[in-house]
């Protein structure tokens, strides 16, 4: 039973990873793509990690897994904001983006 729930969680996590990846490939501009990526980070990894969590026996390892997820959650939210600001900073004054150099 536990195995079934675990696999269910892992595969729904995979679905979000796949959705995020397709989003990155198909979305029209950087900010839209950013939107897709953060979904994959948060939900994909979250579901996958909870699936893996059910298979562990050591509470310390479970705690570590939880730490990884919370870390990625907080970091990807903030990192997404940093990337978004970076994109916007390059656009407004009409000069060629830094990348063109």
């Amino acid at each position: 039973m536990l195995d079934v729930i675990s696999l269910l969680l892992i595969f729904s996590g995979l679905a979000f990873y796949l959705a995020g990846t397709i989003g990155v490939l198909r979305m029209p501009d950087t900010l839209c793509r950013l939107h897709a990526v953060t979904k994959a980070d948060n939900l994909g990894l979250g579901l996958l990690a909870s699936g893996v969590l059910l298979q562990l026996s050591d509470p310390l390892q479970m705690l570590k897994l939880l730490l990884i997820w919370v870390l990625v959650l907080a970091a990807s939210a903030t990192g997404g904001q940093l990337i978004a600001r970076h994109t916007l900073d390059q656009k407004p004054n009409g000069d060629p983006p830094e990348d063109a150099r």
Binding site: R33, D41, G79, H86, P97
Partner: protein
């Protein structure tokens, strides 16, 4: 259980490859660092699954280190130097 885990690992690996091919197609470095972030959390997921599959819980530590350091890279990418700020 093991068979399904293997399937999951292979699917996640294929997703990784798909995102990476997308990265090679994308134009700007910002897009690429964005995909690098996606690949980072994809890699964390792969490590978690491998930890179960290979029964090596040490891979959880690798996942933790990878998760922290991919943030460091994003910060290093988005920070600007002094001159650029003043210009």
């Amino acid at each position: 259980m093991t068979e399904m885990l293997i399937l999951a690992v292979v699917v996640l690996g294929a997703t990784f490859a798909l995102a990476l091919l997308g990265m090679l197609r994308q134009g700007t470095p910002t897009d690429r660092i964005l995909i690098a972030q996606l690949l980072g959390s994809n890699g964390v997921g792969l490590l978690l699954l491998l930890a179960l599959l290979q029964e090596q819980l040490a891979l959880l530590d690798v996942a933790l280190v990878l998760a922290i350091l991919s943030v460091v890279v994003v910060i290093a990418f988005t920070r600007r130097g002094k001159e650029q700020a003043d210009a």
